[in-house]
């Protein structure tokens, strides 16, 4: 197995920019939700960006990725254009899905983002199908699917894990274990603390990593990816992380402990990579602020373009029911 590249200036910056792009986008989405420009049930991944970036950065548009209800980051990391994404959240015709999907149902086929799903766990078997399609076609494309710790208690998850293992499918299951499902901690959902342990019986290779360390995510995923390209699988990568925002925008977050919050602010994946870059010398003092600034500008431009996009015509509703 080729060991994954070391983080150097180029890669470090790419990872940093990738995370900032998501952060800047979602912070803006939060504002726009409060301003009623972005609509619906909006789940932000702020604090969890390292997972999406560590995973999707290594995939090509031929690889199928599936996200869950908290999927802005997944889509962005997979290459979805920010303007079309923002327009989608605003319900505009220029949106990725022409405004028909919304925050929980992002799809960008061109970039191999085959879809986010609002039903917890509902996306997992679809990734198996994409992986099987790739094998049947003789391709080396793989499939990856993001899901939360809450999904691991749903029957569809374990059915899928069993099937993926039975058929040895080249699929990588990426769990964002943020310790909460809505307002209740994992301990109220399962006696099994680690999702990697849930799948242990099925004999798939698995790893649990610090999901706030983008390099750790990247390295662990790289190993699985390389094997999956050779047709091996399935794999499970569990990323321990934390959402710094409420479950959804508007969540009063009564269940939060202030102390844990502070601790997690310190572990913010962006800050951590910045600190590391400064320590290791591949990042200079000014760069973080510049990257932040640039991504915020990208996002502003996306907002501008999205705002210019009209709402779709109501007739669109009946035009796209059948292919």
């Amino acid at each position: 197995m080729v060991s994954p590249a070391e983080v150097d200036a180029a890669l470090g910056l790419e990872l940093l920019r990738g995370m900032w792009r998501i952060r800047a986008f979602e912070e803006r989405v939060g504002q726009l939700t409060r301003a009623d420009e972005v609509h619906g049930l909006v789940h932000l991944s702020i604090g969890q960006e390292a997972v999406a970036v560590g995973v999707c950065g290594q995939l090509s548009s031929r690889d199928a990725v599936y996200g869950n209800h908290r999927a802005h980051g997944h889509a962005i990391a997979k290459g979805a254009p920010l303007a079309a994404l923002m327009a989608e959240l605003m319900g505009r015709d220029g949106g990725l899905c022409r405004g028909l999907g919304g925050s929980m149902h992002l799809v960008d086929v061109e970039h191999g983002f085959l879809g986010a799903t609002g039903v917890v766990g509902g996306n997992v078997p679809l990734a198996l199908g994409s992986a099987l399609a790739s094998r049947l076609a003789g391709h080396d494309a793989v499939a990856a699917v993001f899901f939360g710790d809450g999904a691991a208690q749903g029957g569809i998850f374990v059915e899928s894990v069993n099937l993926a293992a039975l058929w040895a499918l080249p699929v990588i299951l990426v769990c964002e274990n943020n310790g909460f499902a809505e307002f209740t901690p994992r301990s109220a959902h399962s006696p099994v603390e680690r999702v990697a342990d849930v799948v242990a019986p099925y004999g798939l290779e698995r790893a649990t990593v610090d999901g706030n360390d983008v390099d750790a995510v990247r390295r662990a995923f790289a190993g699985f990816l390389e094997a999956a390209r050779r047709g091996e699988g399935p794999f499970l990568l569990e990323c321990l992380t934390h959402r710094l925002r409420g479950h959804y925008e508007g969540d009063p977050q009564r269940y939060r402990e202030a102390i844990a919050q502070e601790e997690w602010q310190r572990r913010d994946p962006i800050r951590r990579l910045e600190r590391r870059g400064l320590d290791e010398g591949w990042l200079d003092d000014d760069t973080p602020a510049r990257v932040e600034q640039e991504t915020r500008e990208e996002v502003e431009e996306a907002v501008r373009v999205a705002r210019e996009s009209p709402y779709p015509e109501p007739a669109l509703t009946s035009e796209l029911v059948y292919a």
Binding site: L41, V120, G154, F183, H189, Y311, P312, L316
Partner: protein, 325 residues
């Protein structure tokens, strides 16, 4: 008189039922934390987490657990957060709960209430906005309740909990926070329609959110001298067909209005029954108001256009009057 909301009424009614009968237990995702809307807020404090049980995201298993509880003498009220996710629990609900009494030759009873909520209007997208009650009304053994007011919600919930059968209680998310006069929570019998407004010209049978839409339409039409009678069946199973037929035999015109997709919706059943029971009374074909045959679009203007509302009821009434003029 004081004010309340449907959410408050449900919470109060649940608490009263739990106080009155210790066999009543509540279970569902985040229910001890109150749930996303607060329908169960405070219950865990008063009744403890043994009777107000948080569950994992396992819709099928928690419905199954509720069935087991019910078969063993308790009175579970299980919450499925969105009716869209009842899709995950239908084997339990339809193959087990609905048939247990029958298949056991009457030995078992499954007195459970499945509370859930449906409907669009909050930009939730196609997977969080459906209205699937017509599926449930097609299942012998289930009762199906759809309250449209706070008072009805409270009273119907009490009856649902007291009922020895599995009852699906379908709330509507857009009705939760509307303010209404508080009317206590007298039990409301299942299977009794409520005439929400009297009128002589056209009968509108409406459910859930469409009841207030129909009333608004009636208000508007009244200004033109058109008197609409609005009948809220309140429960789809059992259905108070007599009340509907009685109304139609006076007005000779019927509109059936619901938010669900019109095609295959419960309105079809009402229409089919009424044309059979009151064929000679009808001066014009029964009009249906329901959503178009499409998933619920996310985009706000599209969702607004998609949603059946007072304007659709008004149009249907006018169409009827024109046809039978």
């Amino acid at each position: 008189m004081s004010e309340t909301t449907m959410l408050e009424a449900i919470r109060t009614s649940l608490a009263e039922a739990m106080r009155a009968d210790e066999r009543v237990v509540v279970l569902g995702e985040d229910v001890a934390a109150g749930g996303p809307w607060g329908a169960t807020a405070g219950l865990a404090d008063e009744f403890g987490v043994e009777r107000v049980r948080n569950t994992p995201i396992s819709e099928a298993a928690i419905c199954g657990v509720a069935i087991g509880l019910a078969q063993s003498g308790l009175r579970p009220v299980v919450e499925v957060m969105f009716v869209d996710f009842v899709t995950l629990a239908l084997d339990q609900l339809v193959n087990q709960a609905a048939k247990a009494h029958f298949m056991s030759g009457g030995q078992l009873a499954v007195p459970l209430v499945l509370r859930t909520q449906g409907g669009a209007g909050q930009r939730g997208g196609a997977q969080h906005s459906q209205s699937l009650e017509s599926w449930l009304a097609h299942v012998p053994g289930l009762k199906v309740v759809m309250p449209s007011t706070a008072a009805d919600a409270a009273g119907l919930l009490r009856s649902a909990i007291a009922d020895p059968n599995p009852v699906v209680f379908v709330e509507n998310k857009t009705l939760y926070f509307r303010r209404e006069e508080a009317n206590g929570s007298e039990p409301v019998l299942l299977g009794r329609a409520r005439v929400a407004r009297r009128g002589r010209d056209v009968t509108v049978v409406a459910t859930s959110r469409l009841v207030s839409e129909a009333l608004a339409a009636a208000e508007e039409l009244a200004r033109e001298g058109i008197e609409v009678e609005v009948v809220d069946p309140r429960t789809l199973v059992p259905l108070d067909l007599d009340a509907i037929v009685e109304s139609v035999s006076r007005t000779h015109r019927l509109v059936v209005a619901h938010e669900a997709v019109e095609h295959g919706g419960f309105g079809a059943e009402v229409a089919a029954q009424v044309q059979s029971a009151a064929f000679d009374e009808l001066d014009a074909p029964i009009e249906r108001v329901g959503a178009p045959f499409a998933p619920v679009p996310f985009s706000p203007p599209l969702e607004d256009a998609y949603l059946p509302d007072r304007a659709d009821v008004t149009t249907a009434v006018r169409t009827l009057l024109r046809r039978s003029a």
